[in-house]
């Protein structure tokens, strides 16, 4: 039994009269590949927004490595080790591929503007190691040849990959993937599954993903939580989820008794 890395303790998100997420409780263990699924509008992305500090939960708390994230701003949470990708791709459009990743990588760098202006040794050495780290990351996803192209010029699949690279550059403990396979075809999805497994072992990462592609979720997730109307209705291994009456009901509706 490995330690708990991320824990949501009874988190609730209320927008006016609507409870988008209601007293959600779940844990992700260190090194685990966990999934969060549910029908459209179940509140999955809202959960991600609470985990990353975009929203402050109305009630409840999120813990990373035992530390409460209450009241922390998104950049502080990012520094602590939670990173994410987005359902709709959100790259910095005016920046090139390399710069998109450098932004994320830069938060660990210890030089200031003065170092840049004076081109000090500290600047040169850390900038160099940073760049080579970023190039290595791009290399894993076969993007290094496109480093200087504008991010917006990449084809869709590569933009998705670039988002993952950018997230990895923050040196995260856990990466939250919001529908990484959205809009991908069969072979691309398959490739993505391999990549996710690969980066997990290579970077010692914990992964939590939202996905609609059941084949992907069932194929790689070790633990799955199912959300419906903001409430967790089931949790467990893929085999448990596949045979759960509640989950089938949430996705397909109740069978008419007549």
């Amino acid at each position: 039994m490995s330690a708990v890395l991320l824990e949501a303790r009874n988190i609730t998100m209320q927008f006016g009269g609507l409870k988008a997420v209601d007293s959600l409780q779940f844990q992700v263990k260190k090194g685990q590949l966990a999934g969060l699924i549910g029908p459209n509008g179940a509140g999955k992305t809202t959960v991600f927004n609470m985990l990353t500090g975009v929203y402050q939960p109305t009630h409840g708390e999120v813990f990373l490595d035992g530390q409460s994230l209450s009241g922390l701003r998104p950049y502080e949470i990012s520094h602590l080790g939670i990173t994410r990708t987005f359902q709709n791709i959100r790259l910095f459009k005016g920046l090139n591929v390399l710069e998109n990743v450098l932004i994320a990588a830069h938060q660990h760098v210890q030089y200031g503007l003065l170092d840049t202006l004076l081109q000090t040794k500290r600047f040169k050495s850390s900038e160099q190691s940073l760049r080579s780290k970023v190039i290595d990351l791009l290399h894993i996803f076969n993007l290094e040849k496109k480093a200087l192209e504008p991010a917006s010029s990449l084809p869709y699949g590569e933009q998705r990959k670039l988002e993952i690279v950018r997230a990895l550059a923050t040196d995260p403990k856990i990466i939250l993937l919001d529908e990484p396979a959205a809009g991908m075809n069969h072979s691309e999805t398959h490739q993505l599954m391999e990549t996710i497994a690969k980066i997990r072992s290579q970077f010692n990462l914990t992964v939590l993903l939202i996905e609609h592609d059941m084949k992907l979720v069932m194929g790689i997730c070790e633990n799955i939580a199912v959300l419906d109307h903001g409430v967790k209705i089931e949790e467990g291994a893929p085999s448990v989820i596949q045979n759960s009456a509640k989950v089938i009901e949430a996705y397909l509706g109740v069978e008419d008794e007549a």
Partner: protein
């Protein structure tokens, strides 16, 4: 023909001053999507800071490029600091408020600075000390290149190149572009957006500080309301080029400077301001996103 060349020189000189101020509008817009109406008054404060320091040091006794550069530095520091204060205390508390609230606050800050200026400095115009001597540097037949024009051009060019370097080549510049593109995403990637926004205000304001000393040198009459007209024109320049776009602000400012100079030369100086704002109307009708701006359709 000779006249024409002379007007081009004058127009570019005027345009580069507009550019220094327009950059502040466009940078702040790029990052916060707000028009910082107090920007023109930050510029005014810069001129007064330089004025008082110049008198205090008795700079008039030793005019020259060194004195000018020192005053520019003084004005940049004063404006940068003021820009920082304005962002920190007037705009930051409203970060989550509707856009209109910030806009009205900006107008309030602007009025506050203008009328505080009248109280503190007095409403009467003051004569900016002569920091440099103006003389004819080169002549090509009847066309003159005066030292002031060359100085204005040179200083603005250096300032703009520094800005270009800052934005394109440095870590903080990259972060500025990222925040401008999508602040929330940038913050989730570890960028402290508040810090970057404050920095943007400091840089934009200190560019206005550079402009204020150049104007003080060239048109040596300063008063607490001096920012209004030049600020409006710089704003028009920023809109003309495509607000939020740095290259656009420079382009728009040069067009403004040149066209004003031409109107004065070949039509009548009466129409100068009318023409400047006429440009605004025309651009808003035919190219609302500006010359280099991209008009983006919001997805629904």
């Amino acid at each position: 023909m000779h006249d024409f060349v002379q007007h081009i020189i004058n127009g570019i000189s005027l345009g580069s001053i507009y550019a220094l101020i327009a950059l502040g509008y466009t940078m702040v817009y790029g990052i916060l999507k707000m028009i910082n109406f107090a920007h023109s008054d930050v510029y005014m404060i810069g001129a007064f800071a330089a004025y008082y320091v110049a008198r205090w040091l008795g700079i008039e006794a030793q005019p020259g490029i060194a004195s000018l550069l020192m005053l520019i530095l003084v004005s940049m520091l004063a404006c940068g600091f003021l820009g920082f204060l304005i962002e920190r205390f007037a705009y930051r508390p409203l970060r989550k408020a509707p856009k209109l609230n910030i806009l009205i606050t900006a107008i309030g800050v602007s009025l506050f600075l203008q009328y505080s200026g009248q109280v503190v400095f007095g409403a009467d115009p003051k004569v900016f000390p002569e920091v440099m001597t103006d003389y004819v540097l080169l002549t090509f037949g009847p066309v003159e290149l005066r030292s002031f024009d060359l100085t204005v051009l040179g200083v603005s060019l250096v300032a703009m190149l520094c800005l270009e370097f800052l934005i394109k080549k440095t870590k903080v510049g990259r972060a500025m572009r990222a925040v401008s593109s999508n602040a929330l995403v940038a913050s989730m990637l570890g960028v402290n957006t508040d810090k970057i926004i404050a920095f943007t205000f400091v840089v934009g304001s200190s560019l206005a500080g550079v402009g204020s000393v150049l104007v003080g040198m060239k048109y040596p009459k300063i008063d607490p309301l001096m920012g209004m007209m030049i600020g409006l024109k710089a704003f028009v320049a920023a809109v003309l080029g495509g607000i939020g776009n740095i290259g656009g602000a420079v382009l728009g400012a040069l067009i403004m400077g040149l066209s004003e100079e031409m109107v004065v030369a070949y039509l009548s100086s009466t129409y100068r301001d009318a023409f400047a704002f006429g440009i605004l109307i025309v651009i808003l009708i035919f190219k609302p996103a500006g010359l280099l701006g991209k008009y983006s359709v919001e997805k629904v």
